[in-house]
C-alpha cells in the first residue's frame, strides 16, 4: 500500500518512512528542511502506580484521520512551511511497543521541536483513540479530554506547551 503520512494502523509503526516523508515533502518549501524532530510514544509498564500488563488501543479510524488532517491545518496556520506526519497504532500492544509516532520537518530545529510537540499534544487531545489498560488485578479504560477540535482552550494549551 502507498505510504500515507496520516494513518491509523494495526501494524507496527516504522519511524523512518515518516521522517523520509516529511523531509521530502518539505524540501521545496520556502528555505527547505534543515531539521526533523520526532516523537515516539511507547507503552509504559506502570500507570498511576499500577503494574500494566498490556494495552488495547481502539480508534474511530476515519474520524481519527480527519482529526490528524485538522491538526495539520492548525500547524499550517502557525508554521506555514512545516510538514507533519502522524501514525497511531491500534490493537493489542505490549510494554515498550510504539503506540504513536510524530515527525515534524521545518527549516530550523526550534520550529521542528515546536511543531512536533504541538502535533503530539493535539493528538492526545482530539484524536478518537481509546486506551484499554490491562493491569495486575483488572482492566480499565483510560480517559482524558473530550475529543472536540473546536475547543479553543485545549488548542491554546497545546500551543503553550509547544512554544514554552
Amino acid at each position: 500500500m502507498a505510504f500515507r503520512p496520516l494513518a491509523v494502523s494495526i501494524d507496527p509503526i516504522a519511524l523512518e518512512p515518516l521522517v523520509a516523508h516529511v523531509e521530502t515533502a518539505g524540501r521545496t518549501r520556502d528555505e527547505g528542511i534543515g531539521a526533523v524532530c520526532t516523537f515516539v510514544g511507547v507503552v509504559r509498564a506502570t500507570h498511576q502506580g499500577r503494574a500494566v500488563r498490556h494495552l488495547e488501543y481502539e480508534a474511530h479510524i476515519a474520524l481519527a484521520v480527519r482529526a490528524f488532517e485538522h491538526i495539520v491545518r492548525e500547524v499550517a496556520e502557525r508554521w506555514p512551511h512545516a510538514v507533519l506526519a502522524i501514525h497511531h497504532r491500534i490493537g493489542r500492544l505490549e510494554i515498550g511497543e510504539v503506540s504513536v509516532a510524530v515527525a515534524a520537518a521545518a527549516a530550523h530545529r526550534a520550529e521542528s521541536f515546536q511543531v512536533c510537540r504541538y502535533g503530539i499534544e493535539r493528538v492526545k487531545q482530539i484524536v478518537p483513540v481509546w486506551k484499554h489498560e490491562f493491569f495486575e488485578g483488572g482492566d480499565a479504560w483510560v480517559e482524558g479530554p473530550l475529543a472536540d477540535p473546536s475547543n479553543d482552550d485545549l488548542r491554546r494549551q497545546a500551543m503553550e506547551r509547544a512554544c514554552a
Binding site: 474511530h60 484524536v127 481509546w130 473530550l146
Partner: protein, 86 residues
Amino acid sequence: MRVTVRFYARLRDLTGSRQHACEAPDGATVHDVWRACVKAYPAIAVLEGSVSCAVNDDFSAMNAPIHDGDEVAFLPPVSGGNGTEP
C-alpha cells in the same frame, strides 16, 4: 427517519453492542439520538455530558440536526493526557 449509531470503547462495553439502529423524528438533533440511546441502554447515562460525537465520519456538535440515513458515533473521552502530566 432512521439513523445508525455506533458505540466506541467504554460505550461499547456499557451497551454490549457496537451498533444501534435508532428511529428519530424529523428535526431531531444528535442529542435527541443520544437521549434515545440512553433509553435503550440506561447504563450509558453515566457518560451523559462526557461524550462528543461525529456524524458521517466528521466531528459534529451535539445540537446539530441529523438526517435520514446518517451514521452517528458517540465518543467517550479519549485516551490522551489529562493535562496534569504534560
